[in-house]
């Protein structure tokens, strides 16, 4: 494990928070997509960020621990991010796929501590869609890969979680109201699952390119 990794405790889960680049000012916090892990260095597309860059392995991913018996859902991953914010202080979020949805929740949940969220494409962007999927209860998944992550249960559960558009829009509204920013969320990806269609229709949300979004939130 890199010496620039900090282990945080979120209830019974150990979270790996990686410092990808040191720097002054508000950090950029990278949130990976479903079944991904944090990058080992600053991704080329984020090099324009002027300050520190950190990346969090969400529960069941990367160097973070898995939850025996599973029970993953996006709101508890939001609390993972809140643990990181508790360590780093205010951040700007860059979220891919699953990390984009979790980043939206966090922007709404801690409007004072999330100074802009950049949402982009990546695995797990759509989740289970706007409504609960057809009834099914899985009792088995594939064995975990060597090292244990990504937890196959996390992959299963986080591809089935409902993401109603009006629920997502509420978080965008909260981010706009409680951050005090003219633009609280920048959507830079191509895909628009129903929850993200609803988010881009909210005040305080813009659609733009990544460089523009980074410049907008750069302190």
């Amino acid at each position: 494990m890199s010496p620039a990794t900090v282990m945080l405790q979120h209830n019974r889960i150990r979270l790996a928070l990686h410092e990808l680049r040191r720097g002054e000012g508000r950090p950029l916090l990278h949130l990976h997509g479903l079944a991904e892990r944090s990058p080992s260095g600053v991704p080329r597309q984020l090099e324009a960020w002027s300050g520190a860059v950190w990346a969090l392995d969400l529960s069941g991913h990367g160097a973070s621990s898995v939850a025996p018996g599973a029970g993953y859902f996006c709101e508890v991953l939001m609390a993972d991010v809140d643990a990181a914010i508790g360590h780093l202080g205010p951040v700007t979020i860059y979220g891919r796929g699953l990390g984009a949805y979790v980043g939206l929740l966090m922007a709404g949940g801690r409007g004072d501590a999330v100074r802009g969220a950049i949402l982009t494409d990546g695995p797990g962007l759509a989740g289970g869609g706007p409504m609960p999927p057809s009834p099914a209860i899985a009792t088995r998944v594939d064995p975990p890969p060597p090292g244990g992550t990504p937890d196959p249960w996390a992959i299963y559960e986080l591809t089935r979680d409902p993401r109603p558009p009006d629920y997502a829009a509420t978080f965008a509204r909260q981010a706009a109201v409680h951050s005090g920013l003219d633009t609280a969320i920048a959507v830079v990806g191509v895909n628009r699952p129903p929850w993200l269609e609803a988010v881009v229709a909210e005040p305080g949300v813009i659609e733009c390119g990544l460089d523009e979004a980074l410049a907008l939130f750069n302190p």
Binding site: Q9, H10, N11, R12, I13, S59, S65, A67, P68, G69, A70, G71, Y72, F73, E75, V76, M78, A79, D82, A83, G86, G108, G109, R110, G111, M131, P132, P135, A136, I137, A138, T139, W153, E157, R160, D161, P162, R163, P164, Y167, T170, R173, Q174, V177, H178
Partner: protein, 305 residues
């Protein structure tokens, strides 16, 4: 096993489970409690949120006396089941399947209260070959009635709820429940269950709490918090009711109760599947099977006969 003090362990009609065992659910240990003849046909009881299987200590023996091996289990983090890293609806369903698997592959009658009622409704929808009859005891949430407030005010209210929840998540490491005497724990529970007698609540403490050096503590995982938020909508449970193809009995109390869903008979009647039956019990609140165990047991036995 529960450490029962002789003075507090008695309640008229209550009987401790005849057997207790444990099943593994993907690394979480689930405590299973059974009443009645081990060779009798099985019948499953599912408890509600913040409860535990031994809240059936009066009701279960009445059903067992009707000729059933009554099987119940403590949801993860509740009662004698182990505390988990995470809690979710889907995980509770998988734990339930582990209990079903432990009694065999055949369809069995299921009686379920409150949150357990919604869980078992979903299980009956997903795995209809595992359920022969379904009895739902005030476990059919209807559309939540929001207060008539502006969008702006509603956003503020949800922001407060979110902040409280996130703050709570930051305090969980090594969290422990507050200790107290049996009476103190019973009084705390009475705030959630004002219709239940103190005599019953004291009994519950002796089953659902453990005695540490500094007093009694509820066994329920201190990280579990009542209420909360999320994308879930009450109507997502109710919409499953018309799908159910086995005989359904829904039972509601007529008295308002702070722990109840506030579901009205008309909410249920419009969703009952063909042949389904709704019964209202006069004078009962949300905990129908505790307030009127004989009447509810009679209904159940009639339904599954």
């Amino acid at each position: 096993m529960t450490d029962l003090t002789p003075a507090a362990a008695a309640f008229p009609g209550a009987r401790r489970p005849d057997r207790q065992r444990f099943v593994d659910s993907h690394g979480v240990t689930i405590a299973v409690h059974e009443w009645g003849d081990e060779t009798a046909p099985p019948l499953l009881l599912a408890h509600g949120g913040m409860d535990f299987a031994r809240t059936f200590d009066v009701f279960a023996p009445l059903v067992a006396a009707g000729g059933f091996r009554v099987v119940s289990w403590d949801h993860r983090g509740h009662g004698d089941s182990s505390h988990a890293a995470l809690y979710s609806w889907e995980a509770d369903l998988r734990d339930a399947v582990a209990v079903f698997d432990s009694i065999g592959p055949t369809a069995v009658p299921v009686v379920a209260h409150s949150k357990g009622g919604s869980l078992m409704l979903q299980l009956a929808d997903a795995l209809p070959h595992r359920v022969s009859h379904l009895v739902n005891l005030d476990g059919l949430p209807s559309r939540r009635s929001f207060p008539d407030v502006s969008d702006h005010q509603r956003t503020k209210l949800m922001a407060q709820e979110l902040t409280n929840w996130l703050d709570h998540r930051r305090t969980l490491v090594d969290a422990r429940r507050k200790p107290g005497t049996i009476d103190e724990l019973a009084c705390r529970r009475a705030r959630m269950n004002p219709r239940l007698s103190m005599e019953w609540l004291r009994y519950l403490v002796t089953a659902g709490a453990r005695e540490d050096d500094d007093g009694w503590r509820w066994k329920i995982d201190p990280t579990i918090r009542f209420g909360g938020f999320g994308p879930w909508r009450p109507e997502w449970s109710m919409m499953r009711l018309p799908d159910v193809g086995v005989p359904v009995l829904a039972v509601l109390g007529t008295e308002p109760d702070p722990m109840g869903w506030g579901t009205l008979p008309d909410d249920v009647l419009s969703h009952l599947p063909a042949g389904g039956r709704l019964v209202s019990i006069e004078g009962a609140g949300h905990f129908l099977h505790i307030e009127q165990p004989e009447a509810v047991a009679e209904l159940v036995l009639e339904h599954v006969a």
